[in-house]
């Protein structure tokens, strides 16, 4: 196998050299196997994401190589990411998918992190949004501000304060609400179930889960939408989420609520983690040292996927209605996802310690 792939690489290299002047470099990948490594188990959202794109990518890459998704779970995805950091470019058949859960430990300076996003080459990124909602009783007290919610004891089913749940927990805290997270649930679906059973009285879901699981509750009158996290426009400003144009953003609610400010350390921190966790939640990378022609091959392929006439339709249900960033767009998304001001980082670390006793073992 090694001999064969070497041969292909030589041939491909020769072809590239010969054709470089005439047309954009496109390495033929027929007969090869592209491995897309996901640092989570087969059962998570990232698995769904990669399994959706893998067959489309196969069609779009020159020579239609086989694309297989491989799972490397462990240590909250840092194991897989550390492994990917050690990989160097070989023949362009290795792809890695990171998620908000990989980005957060990086941002928080988790001591298990041995990877550096700046070394990697992003080729594609997709995002999502999120909506927070209240039970019927407290929903009646919600008037576009959190002013009347401040005396209610809220219970929230959470996966852990250092996960994506950091974004809603910090938002509620900034609004002056008393939300007690019940840690240890296994997924947001369990959180919704806890809400449905009446054990929790506040919850949030990512967009697709909200549409599928929580919207029926809203329609039945047992849940009241409170706010969305919003979406980013081209200038990086938070605007209303296009999927939920009728739901106010956290930014709006915060501005209307007494004592909540949309500037300062808390806000900067919230925004930074929101961006890393939602609008650029899942990113596909090529390893460090990948030459430009290979990057271009993948960017072209993902652009082809994006340009499929049926893409909007098939992607809506499976990965959500949010924009898919390719090439430079993905680079920009990575930039916002991984550059968080030091002050914001230390604010979050201090808050986690104070509010939940979570001490992050800094490097």
């Amino acid at each position: 196998m090694a001999v064969k792939s070497k041969l292909v690489r030589c041939l491909a290299g020769g072809l590239v050299a010969a054709a470089a002047a005439a047309m954009p470099a496109q390495a033929d990948m027929s007969g090869k196997t592209v491995t897309w490594v996901i640092p989570f188990s087969e059962t998570g959202g990232s698995a769904k994401w990669a399994n959706f794109f893998a067959p489309l990518l196969k069609e779009a890459l020159p020579g239609k190589p086989t694309v297989v998704v491989k799972f490397m779970p462990g240590a909250g995805s840092t194991k897989g990411a550390n492994w990917f950091q050690r990989q160097k470019h070989k023949d362009g058949t290795l792809l890695f998918g990171s998620s908000g859960s990989t980005q957060f430990p990086y941002l928080l300076g988790d001591r298990r992190v041995r990877y550096e996003y700046k070394d990697w080459n992003p080729v594609m990124a997709t995002g999502t949004g999120g909506v927070a909602y209240l039970d019927k009783k407290s929903g009646a007290m919600f008037d576009g501000t959190a002013n009347k919610l401040k005396d209610i004891e809220f219970i929230y089913g959470s996966q852990g304060a250092t996960r994506l749940d950091l974004v809603p927990l910090l938002a509620w805290q900034m609004l002056g609400m008393k939300v007690e997270p019940v840690f240890g649930i296994k997924g947001r679906g369990d959180g919704r179930l806890m809400f449905e059973r009446g054990e929790a009285n506040i919850d949030y879901q990512t967009s697709s889960a909200y549409l599928a699981g929580s919207m029926p509750l809203v329609k039945a009158g047992t849940a009241v939408p409170m706010m969305s996290w919003g979406a980013l426009d081209a200038n990086g400003t938070i605007v209303r989420d296009p999927t939920f144009p009728d739901i106010a953003t956290f930014k709006e609610v915060c501005e209307a609520t007494d004592g909540c400010a949309t500037e300062g350390d808390a806000w900067d921190a919230w925004k930074a983690f929101f961006v890393a966790g939602f609008p650029s939640q899942k990113i596909a990378f090529l390893p460090r040292g990948t030459p430009q022609d290979v990057i271009d091959t993948y960017v072209t392929a993902f652009n082809k996927v994006k340009a499929r006439p049926d893409f909007a339709k098939i992607s809506a249900k499976r990965v959500g209605k949010y924009p898919m960033f390719v090439g430079d767009g993905a680079k920009a998304a990575l930039g916002t996802a991984t550059s968080v001001p030091e002050t914001a980082k230390s604010f979050v670390i201090g808050w986690l310690k104070e509010a939940y006793g979570v001490s992050l073992k800094k490097k």
Binding site: M1, A2, V3, S41, E42, T43, G44, A47, K48, N51, F52, A54, P55, V68, V69, K70, F71, M72, P73, G74, A75, T78, K79, R111, R112, E153, I155, G157, G160, T162, E180, V182, F183, G184, I185, K186, G187, G189, D190, R192, L193, M194, E196, R197, G198, E199, A209, A212, G213, P216, K313, I314, K317, R318, Y356, G357, V358, S359, K361
Partner: protein, 676 residues
């Protein structure tokens, strides 16, 4: 009436969807693939489904469903082969089957045990499907009635099965379960992320130990090592008694037990968050309690097979309820299934609350495809059981190296880390000593399996109850003592009461003789030392993440107390007391031709070689050396068997797209697959 108007047309449409030749063809294809994969311990439904995923994209929905359900449905059926024939629990669904299935195989009644298991599986699957057809429309409020206190009570009911399986000395069973619970807490705590008996320097430990590894280590390794030392075949008798028809008759004679256990399976399967991990133990406990003559349990009582096997297939049906109604997977394979369904067709079928409203026909198709797959799978399994049962007559020394190969591969698949093999070896050692000194291995396993649910449900229920009590005393009491909780509480108390009275008659390890004091005492001291260290370790967790330390502290302290009482008993009793039970004193192990350590060293050798040269090279060396030196074959035959083993391993890994454990060599030089 409402049921009839909504369900009957949908049922008709579902029948129309299913009963097409091409759909049935895909179903059979899925079943055959599922059987092939399920036979391997530790692989199971997730591996199979992942294999199918690339083909699901845009596939005609009913065809894709037939293929996937065919595969998922038969895994709990086919993993029975490994449990009965080799004493290897293939998945969490077949742990209890090992207890009586394997002893039957050793009595030469493997075919009978297998077909009794398969008949029960089939029946359980059908009961599950029938029940679901009616129940699924009304299931929503029932599922929502199971809050955290209720789930905690089910977990405690599961733990109470320890009473029945505790063995001759109840305290020992309790301590074994305590150790299992403590081993289950290893790693990062769910709530505050504190480390328990782990360090970030060894990232492997922070994720905790996987059930596959613990199951293989506790049940499979001790049996394999023991059999290997005796150098006989699994079946003690040369001629196999009990054909497959006997097994079916056994099942029929116990049909009411089968009905009850099927219903237990559906009911527990319906509760999201618990999955199938407790079902087979609860069913086993029920089988024991309802049997008049309990003396045969653990020695090959067929009711000990019929019970769990009826429940574990019915559970698959029950597990569909949270999956289909709430979009919350009841198990790992169901999570992959949900993801895969979204890929089917144009992606219109969305598993979740809208499923019943928009796709009731598809829902019923899923339910009945599951039932149909059970029928096809069971018939295939029963047909092959007599033939496969002959494996038990082969000289075990020729089988064992392949088993070592399989369990090492299976263990590695759980975390794809060399530490998987180290953990397997370590847990295997614990299993060997638990077996030798007559500590209840099922109790340990139940403790391990239920450790995480027990801890999280306790913490969560406590937190929510506290908030309710702040609102008002009445509200708090109402929350904790719901009618369901009270019923479960009564059932638990009754089952513990009778369990303790009956435990003495159930000797899972047979009648173990006592002899010397030293070895059992040393083991107890080591056992206590681990628990004490774990308690001290837990006490160093800072108080502001109290939820991370309270569970290991409490459980650990109770277990240490049990150990101290045992220690006291050891000091006061003579060495003939049952507390000094030791298999090395007399019986099969004591009379075995080979010692424990040299035998274990073979397996250890495979692991060490893997760490240096990678799995495949290590395996080649191990197999060749074993067949030549231990089994005494001539070089030619040893080489042929080795080649077969390697070829088989490569075929499986190649088809499933799996890697082998790499060693030091692989980090220095790049080698072509499969040597990577």
């Amino acid at each position: 009436m409402e049921f009839l108007t909504a369900a009957l047309p949908a049922l008709g449409e579902a029948a129309g969807l299913i009963f097409q030749p091409v759909v049935l063809g895909y179903l059979v294809l899925g079943v055959v693939m599922g059987l092939a994969i399920g036979v391997f311990p530790g692989l199971g439904g997730i591996a199979g489904l992942s294999l199918l995923l690339p083909f699901m994209f845009g596939m005609e929905p009913v065809l894709g469903l037939a293929l996937m359900i065919g595969m998922v449905a038969v895994v709990p059926t086919s993993d029975t082969f490994a449990s009965v024939l080799m004493g290897i629990p293939g998945s969490s669904a077949s742990q209890a089957t090992v207890l009586d299935g394997f002893p039957m195989a050793r009595k030469g009644e493997a075919a009978r045990a297998l077909s009794a298991a398969f008949a029960s599986s089939l029946f359980g699957g059908l009961v599950g499907a029938t029940f679901l057809t009616v129940f699924i429309l009304a299931a929503r409020p029932v599922v929502l009635a199971f809050g955290l206190p209720e789930m905690l009570m089910v977990t405690i009911l599961g733990l109470s099965m320890v009473a029945i399986l505790a063995g001759r000395i109840a305290l020992k069973g309790l301590a074994a379960a305590g150790l299992g619970l403590m081993v289950g807490t290893i790693g990062e705590a769910d709530a505050g992320g504190s480390l328990r008996m782990a360090t970030y320097e060894i990232p492997y430990l922070t994720d905790g130990l996987k059930l596959v590894i613990v199951g293989l280590g506790i049940f499979a390794i001790p049996e394999i090592v023991s059999l290997l030392r005796q150098d006989k075949s699994i079946s003690r008798t040369a001629t196999l008694g009990g054909g497959w028809l006997d097994g079916v008759r056994d099942w029929f004679a116990n049909i009411w037990l089968s009905v009850r256990c099927s219903l237990i399976g559906v009911a527990v399967g319906v509760i999201p968050g618990l999955g199938g991990s407790v079902v087979d133990w609860i069913a086993y406990g029920h089988a024991v309690q309802t049997t008049r003559d309990k003396s045969q349990f653990g020695k090959g009582e067929v009711r000990g097979i019929v019970g769990p096997e009826s429940s574990n297939n019915a559970k698959e049906g029950g597990g569909l309820v949270p999956t289909l109604l709430f979009g919350i997977p009841g198990s790992g394979s169901m999570a992959v299934f949900i993801g895969a369904v979204a890929l089917l067709g144009s992606g219109d079928i969305e598993v979740g609350p809208s499923m019943l409203k928009n796709n009731l026909d598809i829902t019923y198709s899923i339910v009945w495809l599951l039932a149909l797959a059970n029928v096809v799978g069971t018939l295939l399994c029963i047909a092959s059981s007599s033939g496969i049962a002959r494996l038990t007559t082969i000289r075990f020394t020729l089988v064992a190296p392949f088993l070592f190969m399989l369990i090492a591969f299976a263990a590695f698949q759980s975390g794809q880390d060399l530490f998987d093999l180290v953990a397997l070896f370590a847990i295997g050692l614990i299993g060997i000593f638990l077996r030798r000194f007559d500590w209840s291995r099922p109790a340990f396993l139940i403790g391990f399996v239920l450790s995480n649910p027990a801890e999280t449900f306790t913490n969560q229920a406590y937190q929510i109850a506290a908030s309710r009590f702040r609102r008002g005393f009445e509200e708090g009491i109402e929350y904790i003592f719901s009618p369901i909780v009270i019923v479960l509480l009564v059932v638990t108390v009754v089952s513990i009461f009778f369990g303790i009275r009956q435990a003495k008659t159930i000797q899972a390890e047979g009648d173990v003789q006592s002899g010397t004091k030293r070895a059992p005492l040393v083991f107890l001291l080591l056992f206590t030392a681990y628990l004490a260290i774990a308690v001290i370790d837990a006490s160093t967790i800072p108080d502001d993440v109290f939820t991370d330390k309270v569970f290991p502290l409490t459980i650990g302290a109770i277990s240490v107390l049990c150990c101290l009482l045992l220690l006291f008993r050891m000091m006061t009793r003579p060495e003939t007391d049952t507390i000094f039970a030791d298999k090395e004193v007399s019986g099969d192990d004591a009379e075995a031709g080979h010692g424990l350590w040299p035998t274990l060293a073979w397996f250890g050798g495979l692991l060490v070689l893997s760490a240096v040269f990678g799995f495949i090279i290590a395996l080649a060396a191990f197999l060749l050396a074993f067949f030549r030196m231990r089994a005494g074959l001539e070089w030619g035959r040893a080489a042929i068997l080795t080649a077969c083993g390697i070829a088989f391993m490569c075929l499986v890994a190649g088809l499933l797209n799996r890697d082998f454990p790499p060693g030091l060599l692989q980090s220095l030089v790049e080698l072509p697959w499969p040597l990577t």
